[in-house]
């Protein structure tokens, strides 16, 4: 293995782009801003590509993975904490890097067209490059603390990009909400790291794995607590129950940002983290089952909300939450490679869905309401066909990419005993809902007649259409590598996929069931939104409670507001500030001060009671002290005695 891969260059290239555009961007010509913004991620992508090609061409090199690159100077070396900047390249980080830099670069290209007229063009690209920097750090991290740099850093980039149009209050609110909710997850991550140091004395992933492997006594107990703390972090970053609430609001950001950060890459960081620390989860069946349950519950929960949303980006946002739930379901049944497989295919088709949605929004002048679209198939052919590929992929139709990965997760769940069957069934039900709401979106956007005839849509420029076409190809073919080959490749990093040898028939049957379910979802959508378009409104009217519950997203935001935010602010304001700070502490201080002043006045009548005269006295005293300090008495005394001695000597 080549010992000089210079992995550090991969994050630092986009970082250089961030610095250039961030500091000088306002003064550079637009073409130069574009060049810096595109070339730095492209260079990073090419580096990753070159490394992977070198590895694939050389099986011996692959056997030598993981390759660890550590900065020779420590980052923090104090007390119990010894952490280096260390990057690790293995099968897992390689797959992630390809996805992150590849899809990331495509979205940069797309943004050139999408954000072309924005005043904050340079600022936008500097943030986007900053995001890639932190995301690649997160992926390459060799220990938990370096991962935490990336973890918090992508949160920062997300905060900045959601609030990119900061004059809009809703955008600024959404950015802040994303950051704070993520912080709740980060709290778990932090506690998890403290526990790791306390119990293993290290944060390096390989060392933790080695220590766990040495002693079979590590099982459950503290490992469960660590794993659950990390999972809390993951639920924040990857928008799972109960911390998913920031992601729908994050749609306030520019659409390419939603595609890159809030669909394809950043939100999958939690899945990646669980896969990266999978040895911990493997030693705790309880933690694994929690992961699986959270995943499955989130998947179906978000899918039901997506059924009735009318904002095209919100549908996709809830769909992202739901798909991330599948990935956690995969992790929770220890099928990490299946989860990563779905992560990859999802990155393709979900980025594509968002970008196609962006193309639609761009074409019709910023409208995001599905009820005002329709009939766009003819006007936007490239957008239509690429989006169709993505819809088929996410719905899980053979042979599109999503079919292979979703199927692998469901199959792995099915193998896990009775509870696994329940998880599988929930996953299947979610697949039905997914297929339905995606085709609903598809019909409402592209089919039928236009519901806003006054708008004259126009197809997007090639900088936007190009990435759509590439991602459409990937959404079609991305799964053809097959779960078996993908799983074997990842096995050294994340362990072998649990399978039942020689049970091909079961797998095929389950696949057919899944496709039939997806087909059913399509048929329902076809009936409701093509053949009988009046039906949905009738159903909504027939079930007003259910409909309102879904349309208002189960009132979870309101619930959190009423249970957490308002009581906290009220308690702080009325109990802490007024009662404790003002009345009790302020009163006590006032009383003591009064007593002191009073006694002082009686005991020392000569004092004026005037602050300035107190201060003047103190200043005078202090000046006298200083005057004494200034004179080197010892030297004076010494020289005096020397003179004295000298005289005595004569």
């Amino acid at each position: 293995m080549n010992a000089h891969l210079h992995l550090w260059l991969i994050p630092l290239l986009p970082f250089a782009g961030f610095l250039l555009n961030g500091i000088l961007g306002g003064r550079l010509p637009k073409w130069l801003v574009t060049a810096v913004a595109l070339l730095t991620p492209l260079a990073a992508f090419c580096m990753v590509l070159q490394i992977s090609l070198g590895l694939f061409a050389n099986p011996i090199a692959i056997a030598h993975l993981p390759f660890v690159e550590t900065c020779s100077l420590p980052w923090i070396n104090a007390g119990l904490l010894h952490v280096n900047f260390s990057f690790v390249l293995d099968q897992l980080s390689l797959v992630m890097l390809l996805v992150v830099t590849g899809v990331g670069f495509l979205i940069h290209v797309y943004s050139v067209g999408y954000m072309g007229d924005d005043k904050g063009y340079a600022r936008y690209f500097s943030y986007l490059n900053l995001f890639l920097f932190f995301m690649t750090v997160l992926v390459l991290a060799g220990n938990a603390l370096v991962m935490f740099i990336g973890w918090e850093g992508v949160g920062l980039a997300s905060y900045l990009l959601i609030g990119f149009w900061f004059q809009k209050k809703s955008a600024a609110d959404a950015g802040k909400k994303a950051f704070i909710v993520n912080r709740i997850g980060d709290f778990g991550f932090l506690i998890g790291m403290f526990l790791l140091i306390a119990n293993f004395g290290t944060l390096t992933f390989t060392d933790i794995a080695a220590k766990l492997g040495q002693d079979p006594g590590w099982n459950g107990g503290v490992v469960t607590v660590i794993a659950l703390c990390l999972m809390l972090g993951a639920t924040g970053k990857s928008a799972q129950l109960p911390l998913y609430i920031w992601l729908p609001d994050a749609m306030e950001g520019p659409t390419p940002v939603s595609a890159l950060i809030h669909a394809a890459t950043m939100v999958t960081a939690g899945v990646y983290m669980v896969a990266r620390t999978h040895v911990l989860f493997d030693h705790s069946p309880f933690a694994l089952s929690v992961v699986a349950i959270i995943g499955a519950a989130t998947a179906i929960f978000a899918a039901t909300i997506a059924l009735v949303q009318n904002d095209i980006k919100r549908v996709l946002a809830y769909s992202t939450i739901s798909q991330l739930g599948y990935m956690f379901l995969g992790c929770g049944v220890a099928a990490y490679s299946a989860a990563i497989f779905h992560l990859m295919t999802h990155a393709f088709f979900k980025a594509l869905l968002f970008m196609a949605a962006g193309s639609v929004i761009h074409a019709i002048g910023g409208e995001q309401d599905l009820r005002k679209m329709g009939g766009l198939r003819k006007k936007l052919p490239v957008t239509f066909w690429t989006m169709t590929a993505a819809v088929l992929a996410i719905a899980g139709f053979f042979p599109f990419a999503g079919f292979f990965s979703k199927d692998a997760i469901l199959y792995a769940a099915f193998l896990q005993g009775t509870n696994g069957k329940i998880l599988w069934f929930v996953g299947l039900l979610t697949a039905l809902l997914t297929s339905f709401y995606m085709f609903r979106l598809w019909y409402l956007t592209f089919m039928g007649e236009s519901r806003s005839p006054e708008v004259h849509p126009h197809e997007s420029p090639w900088s936007m259409r190009g990435p759509l076409v590439i991602l459409a190809l990937l959404s079609v073919c991305g799964g053809w590598i097959g779960m078996e080959r993908f799983g074997n490749f990842l096995a050294p990093s994340v362990g072998v996929l649990p399978t039942e040898a020689g049970n091909m028939r079961l797998e095929i049957i389950l696949s057919i069931v899944a496709v039939l379910v997806a087909l059913e979802g399509w048929l329902i959508a076809d009936k409701l939104y093509r053949r009988k378009p009046a039906r949905p409104a009738q159903y909504a009217a027939a079930l007003p409670t259910g409909y309102k519950l879904l349309a208002n997203k189960y009132y979870v935001d309101e619930l959190y507001g009423a249970v957490v935010v308002k009581p906290l602010l009220g308690f702080s304001k009325f109990v802490l500030e007024w009662v404790v700070d003002f009345v009790i502490l302020g009163g006590a201080a006032w009383l003591l001060g009064g007593i002191a002043t009073f006694t002082g006045a009686i005991l020392q009548r000569w004092q004026s009671g005037n602050l300035r005269s107190y201060a003047a006295w103190l200043a005078a005293g202090a000046a006298a002290v200083l005057l004494f300090l200034l004179v080197p008495w010892a030297t004076v005394l010494a020289s005096l005695s020397a003179i004295h001695l000298g005289m005595a000597g004569h």
Binding site: L73, A78, G79, L80, A615, A622, W633
Partner: protein, 515 residues
């Protein structure tokens, strides 16, 4: 070189004082006081940089370096004894660094009686340096008192709305606890005949002093320091002081003097007694973290918000100190530096906003980002450093303190303190949003945009760069701090042994002193 090492600390004390005298002598024209103060501050800062450059890490290097001991007064025996170790070294540099920041922050804000302002400002510098380097308790006490005087006068004279009232509050809160401190110091002298730090340390550890009285003596020390930090519930003065004090003083008034004094003169002098009260301090610190953060959430005035934020952050440092772990101590000292740098930048920026828009009501602001992009950028970076974003400085200190608490003290307290992480992000980002984001407010529209000027940028760029460097390369600082936090004979990695170094015996020190 040796001569410079011998006299550098005295120079650091004298230069600001000489500057103060010069400011007092020149006429108040052409911004002469400003320029003299600025040059003095920069010169002093340059001098302080000598210390880290020549600090020795050799195995046989003495704990205190650049040390001078001169007999000053024979009866009572007071030595002019100064020196720095790993705990105080970077704090001296921090005071040096913040002096030019303070001058720049006052440049336009202070228009009336500039001579008085800058003279007192420079005296305050000397006093703070003195606190950090004194190793004789009487000299230390002199500087401690001296550090309070210019502060009180300046708050009274330059207050924004009700200076005298805030000054009186500051005065009552900080001068009154100094009286027991003085009594305690005098009691120690009466029993031992010495004000010298190392000698007293020996006496206290020897068991020759009555234990019951020592407990109260130690408590008197702690009380004076705890008010100055402040520790909950002694923070009553902070909000008013922050609201009224000129920015240059607000950025140094809380925190470092009291925290350092806890490390050196409370725990350093009375390890056994400190250990006895540590659980109480840990509890109060955790309460302070959450209490300060909750109150910061509901403030409507940004000075008061910063005051409660400071309470929260300083409580975290207090937690690191009284956790009595090496990890926590390194984090605590590092966090004092971080807090100084970050608060310096944020106060400078808030001061500029206040000078321009004449209000500190947060809700009056809004939508400034489009008009003042640079101010916004620097403020956002400072806020992120404050809320502990990795790669910026706050994270390193915060993480070390929390880790030290978690592993060495108690998981429960550490978890409660970590909750402050969430609240910290909430109030700072909310502040950023209300000041800079959203639609343009009437206030923002009322003035033509005037972003940062050259002088301000010349201060903010280095401070911001420092936040990044301190976050990425903390090992430029931590090894020095470790020499101060870790006595040489320490073996166990986490728990501070808090036993007396062998070298400190009264005879050797007295002998050294009279040489």
């Amino acid at each position: 070189m040796n001569e410079i090492n011998q006299s550098i600390l005295t120079l650091i004390l004298l230069v600001p004082l000489a500057g103060a005298v010069l400011v007092a002598l020149v006429p108040d024209r052409f911004k002469l006081p400003n320029w003299i103060a600025l040059l003095t501050a920069l010169g002093t800062f340059g001098l302080t940089l000598h210390l880290p450059a020549h600090f020795s890490f050799a195995a046989d290097a003495p704990r205190f370096q650049f040390e001078i001991t001169r007999l000053w007064i024979e009866k009572p025996t007071i030595f002019y004894h100064v020196g720095v170790d790993g705990l105080s070294l970077w704090l001296v540099v921090l005071v040096g660094l913040l002096a030019p920041v303070g001058v720049v922050a006052s440049w336009n804000a202070i228009q009336a009686r500039r001579k008085l302002f800058y003279a007192l400002f420079l005296v305050q510098q000397t006093a703070m340096f003195g606190v950090f380097i004194s190793l004789d308790l009487m000299v230390y006490y002199g500087f401690w008192e001296l550090s309070l005087v210019p502060m009180a006068i300046l708050i009274a004279m330059y207050g924004r709305k009700d200076g005298p009232k805030a000054a009186l509050k500051f005065f009552l809160f900080t001068f009154i606890p100094s009286a027991p401190l003085l009594v305690a110091i005098l009691w120690l002298y009466a029993k031992t005949g010495s004000f010298d730090f190392a000698t007293l340390r020996f006496w206290v550890a020897s068991g020759a002093l009555p234990a019951g009285a020592l407990f109260w003596v130690a408590l008197a020390f702690l009380f004076a320091f705890a008010v100055k930090v402040p520790v909950f519930p002694l923070h009553g003065w902070v909000a008013d002081t922050f609201s009224e004090a000129p920015v240059a003083l607000a950025m140094v008034v809380a925190g470092k003097l009291g925290l350092y004094s806890m490390l050196r003169f409370h725990i350093g002098l009375f390890p056994v007694q400190a250990r006895a009260v540590a659980p109480v301090l840990i509890g109060l610190a955790v309460i302070g973290i959450l209490y300060g953060a909750c109150l910061a959430l509901v403030q409507r005035d940004f000075w008061r918000l910063m005051a409660y934020a400071a309470l929260s952050h300083l409580s975290l440092i207090t937690l690191g100190i009284y956790g009595l772990t090496l990890t926590g101590w390194e984090g605590a000292v590092y966090q004092i530096l971080n807090h100084g740098v970050v608060d310096g930048a944020l106060f400078l920026l808030l001061g500029l906003l206040y000078d321009r828009y004449a209000t500190s009501q947060i809700n009056a602001y809004g939508g400034l980002a489009a008009k003042l992009p640079r101010t916004t950028t620097f403020f956002v970076i400072g806020s992120l450093a404050m809320i502990g974003l990795p790669m910026l400085n706050g994270f390193v200190g915060e993480f070390l303190i929390l880790l030290g608490t978690f592993t060495g003290v108690s998981k429960g307290w550490a978890i409660a303190a970590t909750l402050g992480v969430i609240l910290g992000a909430a109030y700072m980002l909310w502040l950023v949003q209300r000041l800079f984001y959203g639609p343009e407010s009437a206030l923002a529209a009322s003035k033509p945009p005037q972003d940062l000027r050259l002088g301000q940028l010349a201060v903010l760029w280095p401070l911001t760069a420092l936040m990044l460097v301190m976050g990425v390369a903390p090992m430029l600082w931590l090894p020095t701090i470790e020499t101060g936090a870790r006595p040489p004979q320490l073996r166990t990695p986490n728990i501070l042994p808090l036993v007396l170094p062998q070298s400190a015996s009264p005879t050797s020190l007295n002998g050294e002193g009279q040489r």
